[in-house]
């Protein structure tokens, strides 16, 4: 029994608590799996862990769907002329691949799936601030998905995932169903963001001050702010687009006095911050994993924490770089180009701080750490090519070519998705209580790394030589690049299948994972694996930072000693 002087989040004033050490059980009798059982209990649960896992399942399903579409697209591109699908079908496939991967996979993937599971645990809270709203956000996501399926089953969609006017107001495909689906989906994103902001502000365990927040929380905080500020603009844009189709309101239609470029401004005012909504949570995961497997304090805690907020801020000022060739004024393009370069600064700060964290660390090359290295490599390429696209003169040449396609796949897939895989492998033992096969996991990571580069590196080359994106046919000189790319995508597909295989197998016959298999100092690891329904069977008290690896483990397992004596 000891005492600790810390400040609870609700009051902010320092208070002395009686604390004692709670060592998590290595073989828990009660877990959130066993405490509420049955399908109905899952569907009506307000437990953030179950909701997170249901999100993970939904996101995986959509990733499979979007991935199959991608493989079909790549197969079609094996030959310069038609290979096996019609040109119209091809248009629908690339539109749906983009829309599904952006709105149904990347945006909700890290915050709503992994974030939901981990965020309250890292804060030492029993749940998110508004648990019922959290469940509602999942159902809203599913309703949005149903709308999209109705579109798939009826006329499909051929506008590209950006729904640019005027084509989107004229196309005979099911634009309304998909835009309404995405509109509804937006509410799910807003609710998650609102929930996280309130949780981070108000539900931190005693002792977790802003300077002791895990960097994953900082990243999710920046993401939530962007979700709350940007998503409503997408909502009103899609509502206007729908009204344009129903009533011909004319706001985006030049024949009625409107302006189609205004649509692009509105759309990218959301969708550029949305790029950071997708990548910033990935940054959070990298910070967690890299410290755990270097057994070392993060280098530049505040630099990494605040650079997330800086990215969130600058991210709102760069949307115009999507319209360099849309007839924007020369002054505006110059300003947007300059602001775009600015985003490189906080991002570069992060990369350099992560690399500096490795220095003199005791590095353990477990699978999550392997993914961190894959991330650093691929994301840096994605980032640097982004700077080239932000440069005005280069962009006029590269606009709408495969160079852009390769760039955003390096950022979104090489960044967000690889970070998601790092996080999934990192928290898998915590979520399921089971350990996957380490050797197979490393093979999987290698396949993904090789397959990814083989798919997208050739696209940089052919893009810079003038191969336009979204084209169904191409001239013979690009054949070798397209074929390499397609073979790469198959390797990538095999890699993902392998991951699905060994993760599923670990659920059946995996070894039991201990409460803290990686020896992390993070609060979420100081509970059982899997945790019980309320995450901890005590109120955690935090006296150290989350990356204080130089301090002994017992200082990280403290909790209120006698809850009854405390005033509630």
């Amino acid at each position: 029994m000891a005492t600790a002087e810390v400040s609870p989040a609700s009051t902010g004033t320092k208070k002395t608590f009686k604390v004692k050490r709670y060592i998590p059980s290595e073989n828990p009798k009660k877990t959130f799996f066993t405490e509420e059982r049955g399908l109905w209990a899952w569907l009506t649960t307000v437990d953030h862990k179950k909701i997170g896992l249901m999100y993970l399942g939904s996101v995986t399903f959509f990733f499979l769907l979007g991935g199959i579409l991608a493989l079909l697209l790549r197969t079609e591109l094996l030959t310069p002329a038609q290979t096996f699908i019609e040109a119209d079908t091809y248009n629908q496939f690339f539109t749906l691949h983009g829309a599904i991967m952006v709105f149904f996979v990347l945006v909700p993937s890290i915050p709503a799936a992994l974030g939901n599971f981990v965020l309250p645990m890292q804060l030492g809270a029993k749940d998110v601030a508004f648990p019922r709203l959290n469940l509602a956000s999942l159902y809203i996501y599913i309703i949005g998905a149903i709308f999209t399926f109705i579109a798939l089953a009826s006329n499909g969609l051929d506008t590209g995932w950006t729904f640019y006017t005027p084509y989107s107001t004229e196309s005979t495909s099911s634009v309304i169903w998909v835009t309404m689906g995405v509109f509804i989906l937006g509410f799910s994103s807003i609710l998650t963001g609102t929930n996280f902001i309130a949780t981070i502000h108000k539900l931190r365990a005693p002792g977790i001050t802003w300077s002791k927040l895990p960097l994953n929380i900082w990243a999710l905080y920046a993401t939530s702010i962007m979700q709350v500020l940007a998503t409503p603009v997408l909502a009103i844009t899609l509502l206007l687009l729908t009204m344009e189709r129903f009533l011909g309101v004319g706001i985006f239609d030049p024949s009625l006095g409107g302006d189609p470029v205004l649509y692009q401004h509105f759309f990218w005012f959301y969708s550029h911050p949305a790029v950071y909504i997708m990548i910033v949570p990935g940054f959070g995961i990298i910070s967690e994993v890299i410290t755990t497997f270097s057994k070392k304090h993060i280098f530049g805690y505040w630099a990494i924490a605040l650079s997330s907020l800086a990215i969130a801020f600058i991210g709102f000022l760069v949307w115009g770089h999507h319209m360099f060739t849309s007839g924007q004024s020369a002054v505006a393009t110059t300003v947007f180009s300059f602001l775009t370069f600015l985003v490189g600064i906080p991002t570069g700060i992060k990369i350099l701080n992560w690399v500096a964290t490795l220095y003199k660390g005791s590095i353990e090359m477990k699978t999550p750490m392997v993914y961190v290295f894959v991330f650093l490599f691929l994301f840096s390429i994605g980032g640097f090519t982004g700077i080239m696209l932000g440069a005005l003169s280069a962009d006029i040449h590269l606009h709408d070519t495969y160079y852009v396609v390769a760039h955003f796949h390096y950022v979104m897939m090489g960044g967000t998705l690889i970070a998601l895989l790092a996080g999934l492998h990192y928290w898998w033992p915590k979520m399921t209580g089971k350990m996957y096969n380490e050797f197979q996991a490393k093979i999987g990571a290698a396949l993904i790394f090789i397959g990814f580069n083989m798919t997208f590196l050739p696209q940089f080359i052919m893009g810079s030589q003038g191969m336009p994106r979204r084209y169904y046919n191409y001239i013979d000189q690009f054949t070798i690049f397209h074929q390499t790319s397609t073979i790469g995508s198959y390797i990538l597909g095999v890699g993902f299948l392998l991951i699905a295989y060994y993760l599923a197998k670990s659920l059946m016959s995996g070894e039991r994972a201990g409460s803290n298999p990686w020896g992390s100092r993070g609060l979420e690891w100081q509970s059982t694996s899997p945790p019980d329904l309320h995450n901890f069977d005590h109120t955690p008290v935090v006296i150290n930072g989350p990356y204080d690896y130089h301090k002994p483990m017992e200082e990280f397992q403290l909790g209120l000693a006698n809850a009854h004596d405390e005033k509630h």
Binding site: P131, I197, G257, A563
Partner: protein, 216 residues
């Protein structure tokens, strides 16, 4: 924590330490949601600014078609309802349950008055043939893009009216809960945050009225 929840008052959810924490959290959540609402309307206001800059003379002409008198009445009605919802919260804080219920009912009544007046305004426009976009047939305005103003008018007032309707639903729900005796000076969080929402609905109208009706 199991031993924690046993001493909780019934209105405090299991994951909060105490009533104050729950109240603060709910209030913060609502403020965040209101920021999101402002951005939602912000898109429309942005469209308004763009087209007003493009067609300044159209906006002046078209504003004359709107009925300033009834717009002003509606402004007074909504500001009045903001006052009564604030008085409802005050009643809850002072544990005056009768005052709470009466003020909620007056707020609902004023909101309905607003919607009825709005309905008459719309009906009058439709009679003249002032429909949104493609369906616009009115010939009293000598401007080729006259429909643009009314496209924005219908979007802004329509989305706002939708918020009023949702507000009526919410306040009615709060009233039903007040009738069941769920609130007291100890616990009135839903009254407070619904009030916050209602003030925003009011505030947006205060911007819409001069922007649409009072253009000189």
């Amino acid at each position: 924590m199991a031993n924690h929840s046993t001493s909780h008052p019934t209105h405090v959810q299991h994951h909060f330490v105490d009533s104050d924490q729950q109240f603060d959290t709910a209030k913060l959540g609502m403020w965040v949601f209101l920021v999101n609402e402002i951005l939602f309307f912000g898109g429309l206001f942005c469209a308004y600014i763009v087209y007003r800059a493009w067609y300044p003379e159209l906006f002046q002409m078209a504003a004359l078609e709107l009925n300033t008198f009834w717009g002003a009445v509606n402004t007074v009605v909504l500001i009045g309802s903001s006052l009564t919802v604030a008085m409802a919260i005050r009643s809850a804080q002072k544990n005056q349950m009768k005052g709470l219920k009466i003020n909620l009912l007056i707020t609902i009544a004023l909101a309905v008055v607003f919607m009825v007046i709005k309905g008459f305004e719309y009906a009058h426009k439709f009679e003249l043939g002032i429909f949104p976009g493609d369906f616009y047939t009115y010939e009293g305005l000598d401007h080729p893009q006259a429909n643009v103003f009314f496209g924005i008018y219908y979007m802004l007032t329509g989305v706002h009216a939708l918020h009023v309707l949702i507000g009526i639903g919410l306040i009615f729900w709060i009233y039903l809960r007040a009738r069941k005796g769920e609130f007291s000076s100890e616990y009135y969080t839903p009254v407070e945050i619904t009030g916050l929402y209602w003030h925003l609905v009011d505030l947006i109208w205060i911007f819409l009225f001069p922007l649409l009706y009072l253009i000189e």
